[in-house]
Symmetry: D2
Subunit: 356 residues, 4 copies
């Protein structure tokens, strides 16, 4: 009779709704279905480096499905990046410490729950000889290779609710309301919440905007008897340098708000949603996605399949090599059907006016 | 120069969140993108029979994206079913009246937004010579041929929130809480909300349950130190006739609640969510789905493609023949990945105990 | 130097949102402000009878402010009511067991968090010689002597949201929707949620309704172009016996729904909100009310004031003798300003037609 | 037989949840109970100046109870402040135009719904000879003379939900999260949402904070094993000038966030809730408060009582002279029972450490 299977699990990078659902998904199926033992590392890769962990059991995994945040804690620790680039020794030592923890605990596999950065680290650990499985999370939905990462739909709900609220002020005061949502590289959140919230202009990093188009579009609305507008801005859109070549010390939303008021004279107000987008209980869909991705990771381990990431492909849960994921970002394709659809309803993406 | 294109639009069957988003999706793209004129019929097929309509414009379509219900009204009117089966004349007369309305208004196409029953009627109208396009809605998600119908995710949200609430009472009182959700033929809503809400037992019409399995599962939980349980029941599961052969005058949830208390002696309480599952503002995702399906319908008309229904196939919006849809129901396949996943976490579907 | 003060705490009766906030309010101020030790009894008076408890500290009280239910558990155990009326011995023994627990733990006071029944028991324990302080909770808001009991506003929020949802179905289908909310003796919840939700008819136990008034009111709405109505019914309104003198085996909401359909011929649907009204996270206001009432209880103990209940009197937190509370119910006075206000806007309470 | 009574109604100042509920409260009771005619002016005092209005009837007042914003529109127009202080003529002309509108429409009274600024204007109009009644609204709850103004509880709900979300990120990342809520002069919103959200430090304009106390408090938490904290900041707290005597070009929340990180070295993040605090559907309680205050205004007019404002005094709706309200602000008294209560649970208000 073989020895029991032991797995480690950690959550790394920014927190997002569904982390606990994913931990539960991995852990419960590992314990109930496959009879494994599960060790949770504290605060992302820091816990792995410092061998800081607690064993998880059915009881500690019960009741966490709906909780926001992560019971394991998280951190921005990147073990393959040293504290100082010049300190060669420390660059090497963290991965070595990780290896030691892995071996001391007798782990058969490590489950890394995180975003793009975490998948990159997970892949490096796999290359270094550890068995690793990845589970993708991110409110940005920009992990390559999976239709959905959990956290995204919760963030869409929060951002859409905020846009709904801004609508009433926009209408009552005849104002232009600019709302900045998260999304450094990818505009998924701005796109989904912008469409769901009925945004008039949606600006995402993937589509280059033209100030004059924005001006003209808002003026046309004004002329058409709509003296209020909602502009949804992803935080990662390009904003120009100052004339002196320095970067602006304010965000994309503030920039758009300023130029809109300047160009059009319309009363404009800005809201930056900030951290509320990543906190709180996961939406029902994120609970399902997180549970599914987590459970699949345990299944992969039970089949001794490593170096993979759980992923959604339409309604199937599949796995793809970490090697394919690491270092990539899933951005919004310009021919995304939602963009086409929104244009057809008169939404402006800053590049062209509707019906030109 | 050709004449303008004129389309009619109606919402039929039970109301659900997203109907207004779909009306807006059809109407705005028809008007803005294709320059069509749009006529909205009141109260489903009744408005079509009685030529009761109002023309819709950009203004009347503005601000309705987030509103629950339908600005057009709806009804259960089925024009191909007479008031009395023996009254042959009236069976014929309603479709004739519809044809007259269609011709008098000079319509080029009719958009029917509704569920399975509506798609069936839409197909019959198409067979009778009218140009028709269908848009699928239903909180049950049981329209054949499309991954999603709008209304479903809103209902999942409502049902999940209710299950979350019942958890606190179940835990505090050590009770078994039975919650009955909608779903006559298909268990999609029970399945999704049951998993998202962490239901311990989920009973759906597609999986035959065994009373003894339910009894044993609850007793095992009790023994394992979990003296509380949540049972999610689709209203359409089979419940046995009374001993005298008559049907029971109570619902599936009540039946399960009674036999659980009887079999196990556990304190059991029942909640029937009822109509709150189909009311209120649509969830962000339903707004997107409804807008997408609606916009696609207008696109089909612009391409003179009729006899079709807008449908989601993964992330693409496609069209499928009404002929393929009519008369079918999309039930939950027994090998659905979510069922497999939930079983692996210890959820019971009433047919077998976990790990047997 | 005097000995430390030790207090016991329990939650009894039906669970409701805010119980944990109240436990935290008592416990944190007892520990932080007054240096007391706090013992939590499990499952209401059962824990007190069976000496089943755990000591609470700052850590175990942290993070529970927002949690629904009660971390201590609750039960319907009434120690002054025997299991069988004939079993005189056991009637006496439970209070004796309680006294033993109280003395063995060296308690200086017992905090009883609960509704009317719990305050009655608390008073009896006080009469029997124990130091007792009460904290009122109830979603019904019917505890005598306090403006608010926590749980009420959370229930108002849930019921109002449900009524909001029913409105969209009522309007879309031109239906009469009957919604039954909790409230056996007092109509506070029906009154508040009925007004907040824009109910057309509100029926509460304190106002005798007349079937003919309901009929006439609905017919007037119908004639006035409003073919939809919302009727909010408290579960405790009187419904007549059957003709054979037996009681009806259905609820007040079902009764009203049936007679409305019968009398008016209007399509009528019923929803019974049930247990979702008492579950889930407390509303912000209930968190404040519960914390305030709990903190005041600790303050009373620090001042050696016993036999009292924390209470809200406008914006002040005061205390009133349990002797005054026990055995009473706070019902809605017929001259309540909200009733007068709602009548003036055309709301019907079933007794008279507006403007008669 | 006397002539019909005609009233005007307007909403002025910043929008907030419940404005439509108040319009409906005034209008429905005026029409249904008192048989008055009701004229709604567009965009606050602008509509009154420019005689821009529409008559309201039962139909136009139906279904607006739950809508955010204001169907009448609002503006910051202050008729007693000229566009330029030197332009004496225009200073006089706006009130004259208002008088003309009032007389031309044959109004018997004007209902002004707004905050402190609006009540001041209302009082000036009353002094100038018009019949005026005021209805207080504000999310800041700082209108003098009334316990509650509608908008406040909705804002408390939104801010508390945001704080709940920030808690999960604070805990998962061991961060200090600073959240800035509205409140220029009064800290009601920060106080209520801070207590309801379990804020560790609450800073309000009424209590002078000491940087060193904040530093020490956070360090004590850190030492006590709580490496995360929530700081709730009212936007109106004093922040010091720069060393060069100039004002800082960032907000109170940013200032606190910076000094916390500087003083303690703790990872700190800031969120500014902004406009989402004043948008969206009113909470059930605000619907009731708004309806009650509005209905009372109509009642006052029916009794020919002018120069008054509807107000809440505990559970009674009363009226107080506009003369008493105008120019005052209701700030949080330092002996407010909630502050005392929160201190007793260990909350810090920046002035002293708990238990010093």
């Amino acid at each position: 009779m073989g020895k029991e299977t032991r797995i480690g699990i950690l959550t790394a990078g920014g927190d997002c709704p569904g982390l606990n659902a994913a931990i539960r998904g991995v852990g419960k199926s590992a314990i109930i279905e496959y009879g494994m033992r599960v060790f949770g590392f504290r605060d992302g890769f820091s816990g792995l480096i410092n061998c800081d962990y607690k064993e998880l059991n059915e009881k500690s995994l019960s009741g966490i499905l709906t909780l926001g945040g992560t019971i394991l804690g998280t951190s921005r620790e990147k073990p393959f990046k040293g504290p100082e680039l010049s300190d060669e020794e420390s660059i090497l030592s963290k991965p070595e410490k990780i290896k030691k923890t892995y071996e001391n605990l007798g782990l058969d596999c490590l489950v890394c729950i995180g975003g793009n950065g975490t998948m990159k680290t997970a892949y490096k650990l796999y290359q270094s000889g550890l068995n690793v499985v990845g589970v993708p999370k991110t409110i940005d939905n920009d992990v390559w290779g999976t239709d959905y990462s959990f956290g995204f739909y919760s963030a869409v709900n929060i951002a859409t609710e905020a846009i709904d609220r801004l609508h009433t002020t926009a209408n009552s005061h005849k104002r232009t309301m600019v709302v900045e949502v998260m999304g450094h590289n990818a505009g998924w959140l701005a796109l989904y919440s912008g469409i769901a919230g009925g945004g008039d202009i949606i600006l995402i990093p993937e589509i280059k905007y033209n100030k004059k188009v924005i001006k003209k579009y808002l003026e046309n609305r004004q002329k058409g008897g709509k003296p209020y507008s909602i502009i949804v801005v992803a935080e990662g859109i390009d904003i120009p340098l100052k004339k002196d070549g320095s970067t602006r010390n304010y965000s994309a939303g503030t920039y758009i708000s300023r130029i809109v008021e300047e160009m059009t004279g319309l009363e404009t107000r800005e809201t930056k949603l900030g951290y509320i987008q990543r906190g709180g209980a996961p939406s029902p869909e994120d609970r399902i996605i997180a549970t599914g991705l987590g459970e699949h990771a345990a299944r992969l381990i039970s089949e001794k399949k490593y170096g993979l990431m759980s992923a959604y492909d339409s309604h199937e849960i599949i796995s793809i090599p970490l090697a394919d994921v690491a270092g990539k970002t899933k951005i919004v394709p310009v021919d995304n059907p939602l963009i086409k659809m929104a244009r057809s309803l008169g939404t402006c993406f800053g590049d062209t006016l509707p019906q030109e």
